[in-house]
């Protein structure tokens, strides 16, 4: 029986080395292209005929856009609409990659830590950039929550620095670990279904159906959480309420 982690391995399809960088095309890169193409096609079809009474495709696109817009306005505040294009792109990219991995035989790009770490670092860099651009050096007040008594400040600053550093780490590891764990469970169950005799093998096979349904849900929830927490970080940088 092959290892349940076997299907996370990347294989090069085209070797490409430019300027001393390894830019080889592997199946993860191809899957990302396909997911971006799928999102692009969805919105190209939705925006081709803009009608007051939306058709089916336009309706799906509008629901997605409004969902993210409401989330941004609730969590970021009056400036939330400025982040909406980025957040929609982020949400649909992560959602489509998560869903794509559930198609049989397809690769799950979000099970690669480097992909989720790049997304999380981009989000965190933007939140830091916005904070320092808006509040100048005063943005460092984010390290001292409002209402902290004076004698506690030397203790709070290291704790808050740690919690800041944990943000991109937890954001990336959460998505990566959820996707990896789900697909590992599926692989283990399929391996059991194949290796057990028929009278016992149907049980793990039946479980894979349920786990697949759960994974479909997790794929959505994790994309939602990723964007939700991005909103919270942007909101912290925008408002500096405490």
């Amino acid at each position: 029986m092959e290892s349940p982690l076997h299907h996370f391995e990347l294989h090069r399809l085209v070797d490409l080395h430019l300027f001393g960088l390894d830019l080889s095309i592997n199946q993860g890169v191809v899957t990302m292209w396909l997911a971006v193409a799928a999102v692009f096609t969805l919105f190209a079809v939705a925006a081709a005929k803009r009608e007051t009474v939306p058709g089916m495709v336009q309706n799906v696109a509008e629901i997605g856009v409004e969902f993210i817009r409401d989330m941004a306005e609730d969590n970021i505040g009056p400036n939330g609409h400025r982040y909406v294009p980025f957040l929609i792109a982020l949400f649909l990219f992560v959602l489509f990659l998560n869903m794509w991995g559930l198609l049989p035989g397809q690769f799950t790009v979000t099970s690669q830590l480097i992909v989720t770490a790049t997304l999380a670092l981009a989000v965190y860099a933007i939140s830091l950039g916005v904070g320092f651009f808006k509040h100048g050096i005063g943005f460092l007040r984010i390290l001292v929550p409002g209402g902290t008594p004076g004698w506690l400040i030397p203790l709070m600053i290291p704790v808050e620095i740690l919690s800041q550093l944990a943000r991109p780490l937890s954001l990336s590891v959460r998505l990566f670990a959820n996707m990896t764990a789900g697909h590992t469970i599926l692989a283990v169950l399929f391996g059991m279904a194949l290796s057990l005799p028929l009278w016992a093998g149907w049980l793990p096979f039946g479980l894979t159906v349920l786990i697949n349904a759960l994974e479909l849900f997790i794929a959505f929830i994790q994309a939602y959480i990723f964007v939700m927490l991005s909103c919270v970080y942007f909101g912290d940088a925008e408002n500096l309420a405490h």
Partner: protein, 75 residues
Amino acid sequence: MGTDAAALIGMGMAAAGFAGSGVGIGYVFGKMIEAVARQPGAEARVGKYLWIGFALTEAIALYALVVAFIIMGRA
């Protein structure tokens, strides 16, 4: 004891981290049921935070899985 055996024991011990997440998810859903029983009208609003809390708690368990992977890489 060889490093392989030690790594296997360590990976198994990392799985114990899932217990805490199990308690947490039970707590999240239990409190949700309590909240809806007290105030049925708030179900939609509370539900939003339920799923966020569920996903955050579930992710804690998966950090244990990442620890297991790190040990596996070292062995």
